[in-house]
Every structure is written in structure tokens, then in C-alpha cells.
Symmetry: C2
Subunit: 232 residues, 2 copies
């Protein structure tokens, strides 16, 4: 199925929204942002994996990190096909993403696990917020790199066991997760403030309400995720 620029498309929620043209300038920006995000996540995961108490944890993190590079390859080749050199396009997103990671450096293995899981969940939220307004082939790429949260599932059992054993651990990790969300929202707002093309892309799904909706969704789904981790 090929998306025709400007046609309506039925999203997973059954809501019909307007589809942006395939050459919308926000699409290349989105791909570049995601590409830097994957490389940054790769290096952060491998650094944070050093806190793992055992080989199994380090291997799980390495597998997740390797999956991020698979996503990166897809984004890079997609940008390439669109005539965009990935590296110079990516670097402008380095400050926001590196700042997010700097401000959310875990101090324990459990914090690292929660960060991994929450990061994946936020990526999936971003996908849901914009998928409806993207041409089908673009939405496919975005889904491949954002909507796949299966790799972070190994986190759940370990976190649930730890917080069931310690109420103090539960409070501590719940606060940590809240902080991750806060820093992510702050950095997302910085990025949007500097990149009109991206705001335009998010708004294409339903105007300013769509932007507000993205942040509302992050808050709402955060509670669900906290519940899954035994943190609520």
C-alpha cells in the first residue's frame, strides 16, 4: 500500500487523520533525531550494563544495544535513499539527547533497568502520537525503530522481584522513573522549540492539540508502565 500525500489514513485507533506528504521536511528531521537517539542509546546501554551483577544482565543489555544499532542501520539507509547524509543531520540532535542521558545517569543496576524500560515505553508513545499522520512507508520505518518494546521485557521480572522485597526500593525507583519522564519531556520540548519542521509534523495529526496530546499520553501511559514494574 502506497500513501498518497495529503490523503486520509485510518490509524490503529480508528481515527482518520491527515497524512503529510512524503517530502515533508519534518520526516528527515525525525529520522535524524531517531538515528542519533539509537546511537546514544547504544552507548548508554553498554555503559550502564557495567553495573549488572552478572553476565546474564550484561548479555541482555548487549542484545538490546545491538538491536538499537539494527534500528540505526534502517534509519541511515532510509535517510540515504532520501538523499540525506545521516551523520551531519544527526549531530544537531546530540545536545538534547546527550543532556537527557547525562541528567539520568543511573547509580544502581535497578535504576539502569528501569531507565531501559521507561525509555522504550516513551519511544512507543512517540510513535503512537505521530504514526497516524505519516505516509505508510515512513510510518513503517518509525514503527520498526520505536514500537518494538519486546527487548526490554527482561527488565520487568527483575524489577518486580526487587520492589516486592523492599518498600524502600519501590519508593526510590518510583521517584527515579518520574524523574526519567520529567527529563525526557524537558528535552523533547527543547527539541521541538528549535525544530519547527518537527512541531509541524506532530501537529499534522491534529493541530496543537496533537502536541499537547503527546505529553498527556506520556503522563498517562507512564502510570500504566509503573504498574507493570510494581512501582505503583
Amino acid at each position: 500500500m502506497e500513501a498518497t500525500p495529503g490523503t486520509a489514513q485510518v490509524t490503529g485507533h480508528g481515527v482518520s487523520t491527515s497524512v503529510v506528504p512524503a517530502d515533508h521536511p519534518g520526516i528527515n528531521e525525525l529520522f535524524a533525531l531517531l538515528a542519533y537517539g539509537e546511537v546514544a542509546a547504544f552507548y548508554r546501554l553498554t555503559e550502564e550494563a557495567r553495573m549488572s551483577p552478572d553476565l546474564r544482565g550484561r548479555i541482555n543489555m548487549a542484545r538490546m544495544a545491538a538491536a538499537e544499532m539494527g534500528h540505526y542501520e534502517l534509519l541511515r539507509s532510509t535517510l540515504d535513499q532520501r538523499g540525506v547524509d545521516a551523520l551531519p543531520a544527526m549531530v544537531r540532535y546530540a545536545p538534547a539527547l546527550e543532556q537527557y542521558h547525562r541528567l539520568t545517569t543511573p547509580s544502581t543496576w535497578l535504576e539502569a533497568l528501569v531507565k531501559t524500560y521507561v525509555g522504550d515505553a516513551m519511544a512507543a508513545d512517540l510513535y503512537l502520537a505521530i504514526a497516524g499522520s505519516l505516509p505508510v512507508d515512513v510510518a513503517d520505518v518509525v514503527r520498526s525503530v520505536l514500537a518494538e518494546t519486546v527487548h526490554s521485557q527482561f527488565v520487568v521480572a527483575e524489577v518486580v522481584t526487587a520492589v516486592n522485597a523492599s518498600g524502600r526500593q519501590r519508593s526510590r525507583l518510583a521517584l527515579w522513573a518520574r524523574r526519567l519522564l520529567g527529563e525526557a519531556v524537558t528535552q523533547a520540548q527543547f527539541v521541538l522549540a528549535e525544530r519547527d519542521e518537527l512541531v509541524d509534523l506532530v501537529m499534522a495529526g491534529g493541530g496543537l492539540a496533537q502536541v499537547t496530546d503527546l505529553f498527556d499520553r506520556l503522563q498517562r501511559t507512564h502510570s500504566e508502565r509503573m504498574h507493570h514494574l510494581g512501582l505503583s
Copy 2:
């Protein structure tokens, strides 16, 4: 094509050697050794990548590291099919491999690049030394994880440029490469001294001569690789 235990097999060099049975105990040991080697290489590459002067270098190293995890997945699932739990089987190879990396920690980005390239080359040599005596399906797995040196090709141009610009850099890196080879041989000998099943597997290709041949080959091909890197 299925390999029958004990039958003769024509290797890539046209030499007919004896094939070990598929349940030879050295095969699981080899897979476990390689599995730990992949995970160790993953974490070392990502650490050494931090020395890269630019994003391009970090991305190249991350792609190589991700490929190592792809190899790990193959080894883990192969061990799984053979009824072996990978993790406990792997850890016995941790000391030798961690010791190799500890003794060959690069102090510059160029040293990191040379280490990457030489490591890949030594893995390919190991494959050539034993492939002829392995059952076909086992040899396929070993080739997939060892013989693929394409990922380290990005190293060559960067090293050649650097050593052409500086004779001092050339001497320094040539010594470094020699040290990498020496430490690898030392650790390989430790591993063989402790694992009779592995010695038995290597010797299956042609007795003790085959073991000596492995180390001779490492020396011989080392000179070729040094030439490719502009280090001879």
C-alpha cells in the same frame, strides 16, 4: 549437505582431512569459548570506541560490536539446540579472554583500530585451522562467527593514512600489532593447556602438526595483515 561422523571432507584448500563426529565434546567447548569471545569483544569495542575522535568512528565500532552480538545469538541458539546452557559453559573462558583484553588495552584510537583489525584476522586464522575437521553444519556456524572480516575493513584506510604521514606512528603501531599477536598466542596456549577437548578438536585435522600449524599460520598471516595496514 550433511556431514557423516568420521568421513573425509574436502576443505577450502583441497586438502582431505578427517571429520570429527558431531558429538565431539570439543565442539560445545569451542562454541562456548567463541560465545564468551563475542560478548567480551562487544564490551571491549564499545569501550575502546570512546577514543574515537568523531561520531563516524564511534558508529563504525558500534556496528562491529552489534555484529558480534549477532554471532553470539547464533552460538547461543546452537548450544541450546545441542542441549547446552550457554552461560555456565561460557564463564570458564572468561579469565583467558578478559586477560587478553586487559593486557591489550589500547591507549590511542589508532591502537584501538589496529586491535580490531588484528583480532578479526586472528579469528579468521583459527577458523581456517579447524574448519576442515568439523562436520559441515558445525563448520558453517564457526565460519559465520569467525570468517567474517568485512566489518573491520573501515580500519584499513584510516590506519594507512596515519602511518603514511608518520614513520614514528608506523613503528609504534607495528610493535603494538606484534604485542597483540603475542598476547593472543599466550592466552590461546593457556586455553588449550586447560581444555583437552579443544586440543583434541584442533588435532583432529592432522595431529599435533595441526596445532603447531595454527600458531605458524598466525605468524605468517600476521605479516600479510601488517602489509595491508601499511605497517611493514
